[in-house]
């Protein structure tokens, strides 16, 4: 992980529109962001799309970054992108209600068959409710403190802690079971 001074220097370069600085940001964060999207969607193609969108947004919005935790800012954008993707999925479901079974299969099933490669963790994460799964995945991949996560989610820190604990406890049981 880049040191804070290095990261500040890279971000200044990004604000000046230097391509090589954006490349450095991609090198630092692509893996974690991709992991975040993959653990939420369980799909490589959708994760590819979301990761591309994330860095396009980063280029567009970098001037609005006013300092503070860059991870927090970046993962807030990532979380918003994931929510947009979920909303789009819901819209598509409604539009094709007449052919629900067929369409749902297309949407829910990965475009590229990942089932054989999906690891145990991914299978157990699917059993958690969407909000808890998002919280746990955000916590692990963003490396943000609970305080920062609570701020991103606009909820009291006590709520974040309680939800996280319930989710992690269940995940632990599922993984050990």
């Amino acid at each position: 992980m880049a040191q804070d001074d290095d990261l500040d220097r890279i971000l200044i370069g990004c604000k000046k529109g230097r391509g090589e600085c954006f490349s450095q940001i991609i090198d630092i964060y692509a893996s974690r962001c991709y992991g975040y999207f993959y653990r939420l969607t369980g799909n490589h193609d959708i994760s590819d799309e979301l990761l591309s969108e994330l860095f396009v947004k980063l280029v567009e919005k970098i001037k609005s970054y006013k300092g503070g935790s860059f991870e927090s800012w970046l993962f807030k954008i990532a979380a918003n992108l994931f929510h947009d993707y979920l909303r789009g999925k819901q819209r598509r479901k409604k539009l094709h209600e007449a052919h629900r079974e067929q369409v749902e299969a297309q949407i829910i099933e990965p475009k590229r068959s990942d089932d054989e490669q999906v690891d145990k963790l991914q299978k157990q994460l699917k059993k958690l409710d969407s909000d808890t799964k998002e919280l746990i995945v955000l916590r692990y991949f963003s490396q943000l403190s609970f305080k920062e996560i609570a701020r991103i989610r606009s909820e009291p820190i006590g709520t974040t802690l309680a939800k996280t604990h319930r989710g992690l406890h269940k995940l632990r049981q599922l993984m050990e079971g």
Partner: protein, 174 residues
């Protein structure tokens, strides 16, 4: 990936739950992190990353060109405005240097002082003499009308006629 900015989880959980619960919750968090660590998520495809970097570079270049073009238009606009203003100013200055073409200048033949003065006799010597003679004649007419006789005179009418003739001669001589 389990640093989380050195957050003191035990202290944090202890603020919301009792000590025993807090300890158990912290243990759950650590266990879950270990699970994630043991099951790493797949890495993004190298080709995807290379494409992303290339697309961003292209997008930045096109933005730079657009920004440069916009600045160029702004500068050209400002320069054009300055040139137009300069031309207009020069034309206005040239016009203000020339005398107006249709204006007619007139000058009085008599000095303004004379026109404005109330004491005409003091301003012009000829006029003073003439005024004195008119006053003399007025006086003599007044005397004749009142029936008084003039001292050392040949006769009032004769004398008056002589004076009138004299004035008449002098007046026409100029």
């Amino acid at each position: 990936m389990d640093d989380h900015h050195q957050e003191n989880l035990k202290e944090l959980f202890a603020r919301f739950f009792d000590a025993e619960q807090a300890e158990s919750y912290v243990e759950d968090v650590h266990q879950a992190e270990r699970i994630f660590h043991e099951h790493p998520a797949p890495e993004p495809d190298a080709m995807l990353i290379a494409n992303l970097k290339a697309n961003i570079a292209i997008s930045l270049d096109s933005r730079r060109v657009k920004r440069f073009r916009r600045r160029l238009y702004e500068v050209a606009g400002i320069a054009a405005a300055i040139v137009i203003l300069a031309i207009a100013s020069v034309q206005l200055l040239e016009k203000s240097d020339l005398p107006p073409e249709n204006d007619v200048y007139t000058a009085s033949l008599l000095p303004t002082v004379i026109w404005e003065s109330d004491d005409i006799a003091a301003d012009d010597a000829d006029l003073a003499i003439f005024t004195a003679e008119v006053e003399q004649i007025e006086y003599e007419i007044h005397t004749l009308q009142s029936g008084e006789e003039l001292i050392d005179s040949e006769g009032p009418v004769t004398e008056l006629e002589m004076e009138l003739e004299e004035i008449n001669d002098e007046f026409w001589k100029g």
